[in-house]
């Protein structure tokens, strides 16, 4: 009788585990609703003065949200980051992360707004002005502001030596692509965050593919007499083994003047 009791308990436990597993499987099929991000006033009223801990919770939620595929195309990521920095204005990483990440989801203006608040509240983190400069340079094509923030980053206490070098050569380099590559090379070499490193690596690789395609197009012209109308011609004429896959997800074309660009 006792054995039967143990057996039944074990069976019931196994059933619960199975049901939970099946439930999770089913739940995963359901489209994820866009999260509701509370206002800073509401959180402040409820957190017993533990604003920093509340800010950390929001920050962790932002990472989880951004780290997973979302049906709302990350439309709430800026709300998360603004809330985290509102609750703890001296928490520097949400600013730096936001300035770097928001432009990639079409929120360059929000990135700049967040970065400006960050620079006002946190004076000792070079990453915020540095990423502001990259945002201005890449997404706004505003070299004057990019230069201003490169300079600010280079003059922030604790900024690495090569950041200062990047800032100093930025204004003297004529080629925009070369500048962008230099910028991301700097991010790649100086960041300790895996997400940021991966992003910077992808950008550098992206620019290298463009350079490779232009070189190949030039060789094609020398061999055939004109620039290729399709990228596949570079492979069929044995100039490239294959067209490299862009880590940022773009497709490329060769223009009539032989420049490689995004399709």
């Amino acid at each position: 009788m006792k054995i039967l009791k143990y057996f039944l308990t074990a069976v019931l436990l196994a059933l619960t585990v199975t049901i939970q597993f099946l439930y999770d499987e089913e739940k995963a099929k359901r489209p994820k609703p866009s999260p509701y991000v509370l206002s800073a006033e509401v959180v402040r009223a409820a957190d017993l003065g533990l604003h920093n801990a509340a800010s950390d919770m929001i920050w962790l939620s932002a990472i989880q949200y951004f780290g997973d595929w979302q049906t709302d195309k990350f439309q709430k990521i800026d709300d998360y980051l603004f809330l985290a920095s509102d609750l703890d204005p001296k928490f520097s990483y949400p600013y730096a992360f936001g300035v770097l990440i928001l432009p990639s989801v079409n929120m360059a203006d929000q990135a700049i707004e967040l970065g400006e608040i960050g620079i006002e509240n946190v004076q000792d983190d070079w990453r915020i002005p540095y990423y502001m400069a990259t945002t201005y340079h890449i997404h706004k094509e505003d070299q004057a502001n990019a230069l201003k923030y490169f300079d600010l980053a280079a003059n922030t206490e604790g900024a690495p030596e090569n950041i200062k070098v990047v800032a100093s050569i930025y204004g003297s380099n004529a080629d925009m692509r070369a500048k962008s590559k230099t910028v991301w090379q700097g991010v790649f070499e100086n960041s300790e965050d895996e997400v940021v490193i991966e992003r910077a690596y992808n950008y550098v690789f992206h620019y290298e593919i463009l350079e490779l395609l232009e070189d190949a197009a030039q060789k094609y012209k020398e061999k055939i007499g004109g620039y290729p109308s399709e990228l596949e011609l570079l492979v069929s004429k044995n100039i490239l083994k294959e067209i490299p896959k862009d880590p940022l997800g773009f497709e490329f074309i060769i223009t009539e003047t032989g420049r490689a660009t995004i399709k």
């Binding site: 920093n52 950390d56 962790l60 928490f91 990483y93 895996e194």
Partner: protein
Amino acid sequence: MNNITTIAKNTFKETIRDRILYAILAFAILFIASTVVFGSLSLGEDIKVIKDFGLAGIYIFSIIITIFLGVSLIYKEIEKNTLYLILSKPISKSQLIIGKYFGLLLSVTLTTLLMTAVYLIVVATKGGGFDAGSLLAVLLNLFEISIFISISILFSTLFTPLLGTIFSIIILYVGHSLDTLLRFADKSESISGYLVYPVYYLLPNLEKFNIRNLVVHGDMVSTPEYLLTILYAIIYSIILLSIAKISLEKEEL
């Protein structure tokens, strides 16, 4: 003085033997140790997250311990009729209340220090070094607790433990929202705005004891501000304990 010490010792022994205390303490230590997990999810902001959650944990759990143990402190004596026994001896009601206050304060201080030790070990292990600033935050935490012990003792002379717990939590929230209330009052031009001022000055303003958000960033309040906060806690506790004594005198024993 001897009577106060004896009651404080007995209260300390009584509260330290309470199983609820150990359950909450175990949970608190588990929480503080688990802040490492939260830290590891934060993309390189481990130390900050561990400090924020750790100090928040110490605060929340010390308040929970205080409320759980405090609200039944006098009520239990009245319910079990043991209060007659104590007061039949040459012990005054004031001595009883002061003794209970210091006994519980000692218990909560010990448990808070234990949580702080775990916190310091966790921070040091994760490479944050010795977090001296947190000790100043924990000290103010203890002074806030001292007000809360007085509130709990007062409520335990007036209400059942359940009601005492509910009212204590309300005071806790209101006490941390007084600055926000005052901001609203300053903006408001109606008469209700003026009603906020007496509430602001009379209820315990607990937000001044919260320097956790500052010390994590290496900031600190000024020395006069720190000392005024401590003085506020001492005077407020004396007022609450005096009211508790009056309340106990009105109790039909």
